[in-house]
Structure formats: C-alpha cells, structure tokens
C-alpha cells in the first residue's frame, strides 16, 4: 500500500472524518484543561466528575431530554459541589470525593438497570465511540470546545497565578475562589464533550496523560500546555488510524498511544528519566556548590 493512500483512504468515509475532527478537538481541549488538572492535582476529581455524568445521561434518556444536556448538568453540578465541599468539609478531601463519586455512579447504574431494552447509546458513553458521532454532536462539541478554549486563553495568566500560588494571588486582589469554581465548571464541560469520544471511564486519561508527559519534558507553563496539545492531537490521529486498520476500540487506542508517549517521555525526560538521571549526575559532579 502506498503511504499517501494509507493516510487518505480512511478519510473517504464521513464517519472517519467526523471521528478524526472530534477526537483531535477533544484531545486539544482535554490537554489544555489537563494542564491545570495535573498542576492542581485534580485527577481524582476529573474521574469523579466523569463518572457522575452517568446518572445525568440516564435520567436525560429516561425523560427524553438531549443526553448532552443531562450529562452537562450532572458534570458541572458535581464539579461545583466538589469545590464547595473542599472549602467547607471537615473530612479529608479525597474521602469526600470518593463517597460522591461512587454514590453518583451507582445511582446511574441503578437507573440504567431499570431500562428494559438494551441501550446502545448509553453504553457508548461508558466506553466511548467517537466513530459513531453524529454531525449534530460534532457541532455541539465544537462550540463547547471553542468556548472553553477561549475562556482559558483569555484569563490564562490569572488561572496560572491562582494555580501556582493561591495565597499570593488572593492577596494581590484576584478572585481566587471564583477562578477555582470557574476552572471546575470548565472541567465539567470538558468532560461532557469528551465522554462521547473516549467514554466515562477513560476521560481521566485524556486529561492527565498528555499534560503529565509534557511536564516531564519542559519547565515552562506555556510550553507545557502547548506540548500537551501537540501530544494529544498526535495521539488522537495515530490512535484513530490504528483503530481503523486493526479494528480496535477507538477511545482505548487513543488513550494507549498517549500512555505509550508518556512511557517514552518518562524514560527520556531530562528531569526524571533514566537518561536524565545520568546527565544530571554528570552535571552535579561538574558544578560548583550552589551559592546561598
């Protein structure tokens, strides 16, 4: 097979065109939000929010509302509730999140079990099926993604300050609590637009893995975000082609490519990797004792 054909052949199918657009878009939004998730240690919250969308989806299905709508309310609501609990609660934070997370998901499964017919739509949300995305869904996804990206771009320096040093940011007059709630709401929206592509269970990988990979390789916030975006977009394309040619699950393929890239970065990283350790030792032997 000629290489050009290898790339272009799948694109004659509209479902592949839509799938590629959706997975690249989801990858990019997840990578941008994931940079904050990684730096603020919100991975567990991301997982909790994505699981909490399930009851929202099932309820929307039962009452005949748009699934997206139900998922969005559940996701943003849960994200904000977690933010509230984290500011007020007396329990350890991850404990509260764990309770909320398991409870909401169980509620979703319970509701799901009351539905008599096998519901392909809802199962698709659990494991993701980006190749089954409709044009209407793609348009919704695009609009929400652009909104999330625009907001983050507009207030990126405030989000950076509040993430890095919430106390200093608050003292300088930034509305840190408001920024935190906004970030959680954006995270909720990001998760909702992502679950159709990779599914509730694997969204957290899309959020965390590209950003974590980037953090191993660069030491500037802006570069970390940009590199995470590149990694995510590349993984989406490679993963989708892999799933097309080898007939594999699309979401899992994308996530595994991201995981593979993380593994390579971990081994090669100048900061934490095996090669890096060797060069660091060399550097510290050569360096003079640091001043002050």
């Amino acid at each position: 097979m000629d290489p050009a054909g290898f790339i272009t052949d799948p694109m004659v199918y509209p479902f592949m065109q839509r799938g590629l657009a959706a997975s690249v878009l989801v990858g990019v939004v997840c990578a941008v939000m994931g940079t904050f998730v990684v730096l603020k240690g919100l991975a567990f919250i991301g997982d909790a929010v994505s699981h909490a969308t399930f009851p929202g989806l099932v309820i929307a299905y039962l009452v005949g509302a748009p699934l997206y709508f139900g998922g969005a309310i559940a996701a943003v609501g849960t994200a904000l509730a977690i933010g509230f609990v984290s500011r007020r609660g007396r329990l350890r934070f991850d404990t509260s999140v764990g309770v909320l997370f398991a409870g909401t998901f169980a509620f979703g499964v319970l509701l799901f079990s009351t539905i008599r017919n096998y519901v392909q739509d809802l199962l698709g949300y659990l494991l993701g099926n980006v190749l089954g995305i409709s044009l209407g869904d793609l348009v919704q996804l695009s609009i929400l993604s652009v909104i999330v990206l625009a907001i983050v771009l507009l207030i990126r320096k405030e989000l950076l300050y509040a993430t890095f040093d919430p106390l200093g940011a608050a003292a300088s007059g930034l509305p840190v609590a408001g920024l935190e709630y906004l970030l959680l709401a954006l995270l909720g929206v990001t998760i909702v637009v992502s679950i159709q592509a990779v599914g509730i269970i694997m969204v957290v990988a899309m959020l965390v893995t590209p950003a974590a990979t980037a953090q191993l390789l660069v030491v500037r916030f802006g570069k970390m975000m940009a590199l995470a975006v590149v990694i995510a977009a590349l993984s989406a394309v490679v993963g989708l082609y892999l799933s097309f040619y080898l007939n594999l699950a699309s979401g899992a393929s994308i996530v595994l490519i991201e995981t593979l890239m993380f593994g390579v970065a971990f081994l090669l990283s100048p900061r934490s990797g095996l090669l890096g350790r060797r060069s660091r030792e060399r550097a510290s032997r050569a360096a003079q004792p640091p001043a002050a």
Partner: protein, 294 residues
C-alpha cells in the same frame, strides 16, 4: 494570663503608644479585637494592633501562635470570626494591587513549571488586569526587581533549580514588582544564609524608608531585634507590641514562648530559642503545636 502580667517597665511606657488603636489616623493596618481560626479551632483571640506607614514590624511567636493567620487576615485571604480590620483605609481584600504577600517556602510547589521571570511577573498581574498581557513597562519593572535582589541572571531558570536563599530572593522580587504599599511576608528570612538575610533585610529597610509598610513573621529573634523597628508578640493572642529591642526582654519572651526561651547575658543579649523540642516534657498549657499545612 492577660496584659497585666507583662513586666511593668515594658508595658506602661513602651507599649501604650503603639497598642492604642482607636483613633489611629493614617495607620496602614488597624486590627481591632479580631478573633479568627480554622474550622472551629481558634488561632487568634481578641488581637488588636496598629501599624503605621513606613513601619518594619516583626511578628514573632512560637509555631501555632497565629502569625501566618494574622498575615492572611490582613491580606484578606481569610475572614475574621469577630472584630474589625482596616487595611490601607479599606476592608481587607479591597485594595487590588496594593498588597504583596510572600507565602512560606513550604507552601510553594517548587516542581511547578514556571521560570523565575514568570514568577516575578505574577507580581504585576493585579495591576495589569483581566484579559490583558504584560507590556514593556511590566517587563522593565520585573527586570528592576530582579536586579534589586541580585537574581537577574536566573530569569530563565525553573524555580525548582534554585537554592533556598535564591528562592526567597525571587519571591521578594515578585513582591517588589507589585509596587505595593504593604508587604506581608511569611518568614522571608527562614532557611537562608547570613548574606542573603542581610541583603533581604537591607531591601526591606529601604522599602520601609520609602514609606511602605512591612510586616514579616520570623523565628529569628536576633534578626527581629536588630533589623526591625517594631515587634508584635503573638501567642494565640497579642502578648505585646512595641519597639523591636523588646525582643530581648526575657519575661516577655517567656510569656510568648511558654518558657522555651533563654536570654543569655552578654553584649546586647543573646537569645536562644528552644522551639523545636520539649513537646512531651512541657506542661499541657505550654505545649505548642506546629502550623499545619495551610
């Protein structure tokens, strides 16, 4: 214990002028009968003090005495349970871009992917405003601040690559770049060598001389006595506020630190602070607890 147990030689003359807060016209910070804490555990009870513009005030006291809490109250980061604070003529938190806060070194994630230049630029964010990016003037101010602390060469380095003293210098540069009227510094000279401590104190002295107010917590009593103008003694409540040389007063220290301080006779007095030991031996009332991660 109450204010009445302070040695009379100290309390009557030295403390009266500065602890009177009622009509403190022109004060940068006025704290009136403030109590505050976390969850339901009090950290500060009924604290009143007043700080004039141009003051260099050391806040001293054992771990858990409420020093950081006092700074956070003044910064508007936490709200008091009761009492009133007036900061730069307004409510705490209402003076955008006029206050610079330096967190304790332990409160910072040093693996965070930011460079020295980016950290110092954060000091400008309050002035730049939402949705706008730093301009040439901001870069100029950042460069000057880094020059002042002697860290301009490190502008492109990641903060985790710096030594403890260099990290404090960079964060002080961030505070300077904010061009604040009020500095709130949580242990600015903890864990730094003598040269860095002298450099940082010289800078703070200059800022105070220029009419800016500096409030800093410290565990270094010698530094507090020699380099600051005033000292406030905290131990869950305000034990005393007065001239910095009060720090050498043995009875006042004993009251603040619960007996874990020795003042050795000699030129100027030598203070030995035994803060990290004797947890188990100390009577329950004097047992100090460490600042928890906040």
């Amino acid at each position: 214990m109450n204010q009445g147990t302070i040695p009379s030689a100290v309390s009557a003359d030295a403390l009266a002028p500065v602890t009177r807060t009622g009509g403190a016209d022109g004060a940068s910070v006025v704290v009136e009968a403030v109590s505050a804490g976390y969850d339901h555990r009090p950290a500060l009870t009924d604290v009143s003090l007043s700080v004039r513009p141009g003051s260099l005030l050391a806040v001293i006291g054992p771990n858990g005495a409420g020093k950081s809490t006092l700074l956070k109250l003044i910064a508007g980061i936490i709200k008091p349970w009761s009492g009133r604070l007036t900061v730069l003529g307004g409510r705490p938190g209402s003076s955008v871009g006029r206050i610079a806060y330096l967190p304790q070194a332990e409160a910072v994630d040093w693996e965070f992917p930011v460079t020295v230049g980016e950290v110092v630029m954060m000091g400008r964010y309050g002035r730049i405003g939402f949705g706008r990016q730093p301009g040439p003037h901001d870069h100029h101010v950042v460069g000057d601040a880094l020059d002042k602390v002697g860290m301009h060469e490190a502008i492109e380095r990641q903060i985790g690559a710096l030594s403890g003293g260099q990290r404090r210098r960079v964060f002080l540069a961030r505070a300077i770049a904010a061009e604040p009227e009020l500095y709130l510094l949580d242990e600015p000279v903890t864990g730094v060598d003598a040269t860095t401590q002298e450099d940082l104190m010289d800078i703070l002295e200059g800022e105070a001389r220029a009419g800016r107010t500096v409030i800093a917590t410290t565990h270094d009593l010698i530094c507090a006595a020699q380099r600051f103008h005033e000292a406030a003694f905290l131990n869950g409540r305000l034990v005393a506020q007065g001239p910095a040389n009060l720090v050498l007063d043995q009875r006042l220290l004993a009251e603040t630190y619960g007996g874990h301080v020795l003042v050795l006779p000699g030129d100027g007095g030598r203070v030995v602070l035994d803060d990290a030991h004797h947890h188990d031996e100390a009577p329950a009332g004097e047992r100090h607890y460490h600042d928890e991660a906040r």
